[in-house]
Subunit: 477 residues, 2 copies
């Protein structure tokens, strides 16, 4: 008999039929009720056994975590809490699970404890729900772009360029670490390295995506990016996934429209497809926040928050307008900010972004036209000569979720900016070529995928929304 | 006026309306006919200008590669070769393109020449078609798995394990390359490295996918993987993308069924969605093969080959049966193989695989039940004690496109195999845990994405089906 999934069983289409299902024991109550889960959905299927007919040796193997194949008849359930159940006729134990040793017992484990067991934490309801939502978000992203005429490109992960300027990089090498080949001046002879030059892990696929946008029109990358920064915070990972669309002939307004529509649509996708997991995660968050003071709790329950974001217009304002609001804000005047906002040109800190989003506007905010000095070299300089066509999208509880810009399409302006920052033209000769041959206005942005998953699941630590997190001093599994 | 895409214009829905379109000049004939392309589709839109009304300075800027915005009326075309055209009323030049310097002129360039211009080669019809097909295949893969109840996971790229055993690895480090911190015995002190231990770029996401399959049931990864092997061939890359599904409770037969269905469905997807690009690539291949002797040409035109594969059953046979066929084959008896097949246990070389696929069966072949000695430690040992439940799918012209297996689910057998290969248990403690707690039969495979793109596009070199190839001595762009 072909096995079916728990999801299919719960849909009731096989009622009163002989079925068999594989899964793992969540709980086994009263020697009678097995709650079996196979990951296809959050809910378990209740399997009712007649323990007097079962081999006692087999009975002893039915412990939390054991893998079983259960066969029997699918019937309407008499008990509360489930609509159907299996009247079990046969059980096969794929693999047992010693209750003395299995770490994932049916009780509440701390997220910290579970991080040490990243290979097993996916067997908890919380992590299974988070990772199913993550998977749905990932698919929603691909679907959104493909349906809107974008082409996916895979930007290279290993890069010979260190000019992207988005942060510290990891070196990639096959040279002998102890005794690397040296040049006469004592420096490392990278000519003998695998690629014949120094190479690093990419911090962004944007520059390569620009090359593709300037031929295919609308493109996006969705791949791993890296930061070798010693940031041990709940919002930073050394390895994370980034979504980066890039569009020829789009200016900053088009770019903001795209980003806002994109985020709303992928959130609508999970509201439609992940109801059960989102309800569970909403309840989890409520439970977690019960112990917190009122002021630190979420303003809205999870699903209401997701609906709110997907249905309401993001607030757009210039950096300059934001500075005015912040300068005149209560916390600024009362010196409650750690960094007081005095002058135009200051880089906004997390506390300022949170004030704008959570206190002032109470909705997602798009800030644009930032001072050139605090933004990357490739951003389009405005006619005022001091601001660039950059935009950041700020989300409640998350902070920056998107950073993007219209790109500098003018060869001479780009050259001047690179020179001022001592970026050698030889490093980015091909990037300059894009401005020599058929250059045009174009724009794009990067969305930190894990920050989106954090927001969508209501989890508090970015380590808990990626399967096997990489952080300083941690590359286990 | 909002701009439209060339694809939309060619659909004729805007006939007799005022339109504007952005794109790059492919050709400009007789000072009158601009062929404009925006990457949305292979075809160009013909833009008819009245050169007597145009500013001569502007006219001079209309060269191959220049970016234009063209406005005018969309009308039925009187000329041959296109159904609609734009009667131009206005042209804006986004960016010119010096015909003396622009490398991508409207003539035939060699693929080798274009590899040196990977940032601009995407502006040729061939590479645009290849990369649109690549994008479609990528989406088809995600869609196939999501529609079939799989969950996507992102396996880590940086790994602390070097026990995966699939090949040479790249080291990832932030240590000073010239003067790394050393232990007392002179070895490198990896405790001071970013992750507190030696780390490498992953060669496969399989082991982590197994952990997820043993909770979510059906999962897949689709991410970059790496080999630091000095293989300068037309089939190898140092950085390539791999699709790796992993399914709990699947045995090898289920696994072969999945792989075959999966490949057929993604090929059907591009046959449906990429007709125009595939027709172009089919013609390109025919042209290319004209100069080859008959024996070296493809047996079927590209689209016929894709249909053949997507509609016919793959031939399945055991390694042992394959060895019998090979041992008795003409080339083996006449010593035409470089490696003569004498004994059971020999590793099959590319020449043997090609004989089976291209000469003997003339269709895709799935070989299974390989000798344990030539396969990885994690593959399920058969009851005969000498073969494992491995399978390879071999494709005409490509060779191995899929490698997979049922995984060893028995703790003691796995331990013995690891011990025999000197793989320390501490390295893979978590992988062993999966066999301690709720272990079960499970299976999966890896598909080299670029090999699929090679097959689907009829290109001959793997460097030409990935945007920016990484190979020994080459990490440009």
């Amino acid at each position: 008999m072909k096995s079916t999934s728990v999801k299919e069983l719960l849909s009731k289409s096989l009622l009163l039929q002989e079925v068999s299902v594989n899964g793992w024991v969540k709980t086994f109550r009263s020697n009678r009720f097995i709650a079996l889960n196979d990951g296809s959905t959050l809910a378990n299927i209740q399997c009712v056994v007649d323990f007097e007919k079962l081999d006692p040796a087999l009975l002893k193997q039915i412990n939390t975590g054991a893998a079983l194949k259960v066969s029997g008849t699918l019937v309407e359930s008499q008990g509360r809490g489930q609509s159907v159940e299996i009247q079990v006729s046969d059980i096969f134990v794929h693999g047992g699970s010693d209750p003395e040793k299995y770490p994932i017992q049916p009780k509440k484990h701390s997220l910290e404890f579970l991080r040490e067991k990243a290979h097993l934490r996916i067997r908890t309801n919380t992590f299974a729900a988070v990772m199913r939502v993550r998977s749905a978000l990932s698919f929603a992203i691909h679907q959104y772009f493909i349906e809107n005429g974008f082409y996916n490109l895979h930007s290279p992960v290993i890069t010979g360029s260190d000019a992207e300027g988005a942060g510290e990089m990891f070196r990639v090498t096959t040279l002998d670490g102890q005794e690397p080949p040296l040049n006469e001046d004592g420096s490392i002879n990278f000519k003998e390295d695998f690629f014949g030059k120094e190479t690093n892990l990419t911090v962004s696929g944007q520059l390569e995506a620009e090359a593709y946008a300037m031929a295919l029109g609308k493109v996006y990358t969705f791949g791993p990016t890296f930061r070798a920064e010693n940031s041990n915070t709940s919002r930073h990972l050394a390895e994370f996934w980034m979504v980066e669309p890039e569009v020829a002939f789009y200016d900053l307004d088009d770019n903001m429209d795209l980003a806002e529509d994109f985020i709303k649509k992928v959130i609508q996708y999970i509201l439609k497809h992940c109801q059960e997991d989102l309800k569970f995660l909403e309840k989890r968050l409520l439970d977690e926040e019960k112990s917190k003071p009122q002021a630190e709790r979420s303003a809205m329950p999870l699903i209401e928050k997701l609906k709110f974001v997907s249905e309401n217009t993001f607030q757009r304002l210039t950096y300059t307008e934001a500075i005015d609001i912040l300068r005149n804000s209560k916390p600024n005047k009362k010196k409650k900010f750690q960094y007081t906002i005095d002058e135009w040109g200051a880089d906004l800190q997390s506390e300022h972004e949170r004030y704008l989003v959570e206190k002032h506007f109470k909705c997602p905010v798009i800030l644009f036209d930032y001072p050139a000095k605090i933004k990357a070299f490739y951003m389009r300089l405005n006619e005022d000569g001091k601001t660039v066509r950059a935009m950041d999208i700020l989300f409640p509880g998350i902070g920056e979720i998107v950073g993007g810009s219209q790109r500098e399409e003018r060869l001479e302006v780009l050259r001047e900016k690179m020179a001022a920052l001592h970026i050698p033209e030889e490093e980015l000769w091909w990037y300059l070529d894009l401005r020599k041959f058929g250059s045009a206005v174009h724009s794009g942005f990067g969305l930190g995928f894990e920050r989106l998953v954090l927001f969508a699941t209501g989890m508090g630590n970015i380590r808990d929304v990626i399967p096997f997190p990489r952080t300083p001093q941690n590359a286990e599994f």
